[in-house]
């Protein structure tokens, strides 16, 4: 199977094709640099994203807490991750780095606070 993607490591935006057989990269074409080749291989084999979103805060100086997955998660888990944040309300105070959801959507990655919020 050949997947074509846009490289993101620099503004060139090379169109890179990656051939994949049984999960093994057999050929990469269209890249202009080694970083691009590496990016394309990884992106085809195991695309991952850091997901950022918000949750509600109770009794905080501000009503909304920004959060992120502590590490990147599989791309196809993005919406599951977001769905897991629905209905969550954190009580202030919150410290940056606090775990908000453990092992979100079965990814083994925690969702953590990216802002500190004092109690109101």
């Amino acid at each position: 199977m050949i997947t074509t993607l846009t490289c993101i490591v620099c503004p060139m935006g090379c169109s890179v094709s990656v051939a994949l057989e049984n999960g093994i990269v057999t050929e990469v074409a269209g890249y202009s640099c080694a970083r691009g080749k590496k990016y394309a291989e990884k992106e085809v084999v195991d695309p991952r994203r850091i997901v950022t979103s918000i949750v509600r805060v109770v009794d905080g100086e501000i009503p909304i807490l920004s959060v992120k997955t502590k590490e990147s998660i599989k791309k196809d888990k993005i919406f599951d991750c977001i769905a897991s944040l629905k209905g969550i309300a954190v009580s202030a105070p919150v410290k940056i780095g606090d775990v908000i959801v453990k092992n979100v959507a079965g990814t083994d990655v925690d969702v953590i606070a990216t802002k500190s919020i004092d109690a109101a």
Partner: protein, 420 residues
Amino acid sequence: METCEIAVIGGGPAGLAAAAAAKKHGVDGVLIIDRDNRLGGILNQCIHNGFGLHTFNEELTGPEYAARFVDEVDRLGIRCMLNTMVLDINERKEITVMNSSDGLTEIKAESVILAMGCRERPRGALSIPGYRPAGIYSAGTAQRLINIEGYMPGKEIVILGSGDIGLIMARRLTLEGAVVKAVAEIMPYSSGLKRNIVQCLDDFGIPLKLSHTVVDIKGRTRVEGVSIAQVDGNRAPIEGTEEYYACDTLLLSVGLIPENELSQKINLAMDPVTNSPIVNDIFETSAPGVFACGNALHVHDLVDYVSEEAAIAGKNAARHVRGPRTAPGRQISVKAADGVTYTVPRTIDPQRAEGTVKIRFRVRDVYRGHCLNVYFDGDKVQSSKKMILTPGEMEEVTLKKSDLAKRDDLKEITVKVEKE
């Protein structure tokens, strides 16, 4: 009248880095004034990741990047006035500030650092024809509504402009349940990062329509739809190419304008290209002791450069207050030409320079396989080949003090984009 040594106007990334640097260079009387209820500026609403790779060698979200500097400012014991608007400033560096608790007061500073950031270009500036219903937001306003206040600006969205904020908002709103129908970009290229195009649009199958713009807005109370048309080489819509998108929201991400109402009140010399003060190599404006940095000076693509430049401004504001103040020496002017739209700084004092001086700028168009060339009075002294140059990315050249020192008759440095 209250006094302080250095007044920093704006507590975003520029103001924070400038204040911290000033304090670390020996000035105790640093005061940060910010209109918001917390420090960090616009970073507080930029909850996505991608900040700080250059500065911290890790990928932070906006609030996390801000927190690093806020913590430092706290640790250094720098005084902050929050919820406070600067209403006026004069050439004697007397600043009129106001908030609800202290009312209207004046502060006299020995040095002022302007770090007000930038604002978004509104619809009116584009003269998009059509109605004026609810549901037309600048991307940053929508970002604030969702990320700070927790409200959705709409459910079915078209975005005009593919700058990074527009791209980021396309993903943000998609994640929170909205349908982003298209992103239209009047230019034949996006000014956003490739990474954002891939991870904010491609990941979610959102079409990016290059060389397209919004030509009509429908809806009398709330937006009901927009028409998008292809544009020709002069950015004029081509008749017959209109496509109608039913939507309830139009987001505009069509440019940022440095905030410089205060700069104008002290009659600083301004650069008409950036709409911001002209500065020298230590980020000092035409008024001695008044410095400018951050997006109030020129709009950055990476916050890391904001922090870096602001720290230079802060350090030199400290020198202005505490010394050693070097007498102004010979000034070499820096000129933007051939594809380079502006430069920061506009003058360099070769005696004062420490080690190296960076010149940062933007280019006018997309150039592939061109060179960034530096001329000293007409002699090409540096050339670096670039696979690609785009207006969306800030570029830089670095000059060595030793090279500047070699030419004691040097009058003008010119930066150009040229074919090989």
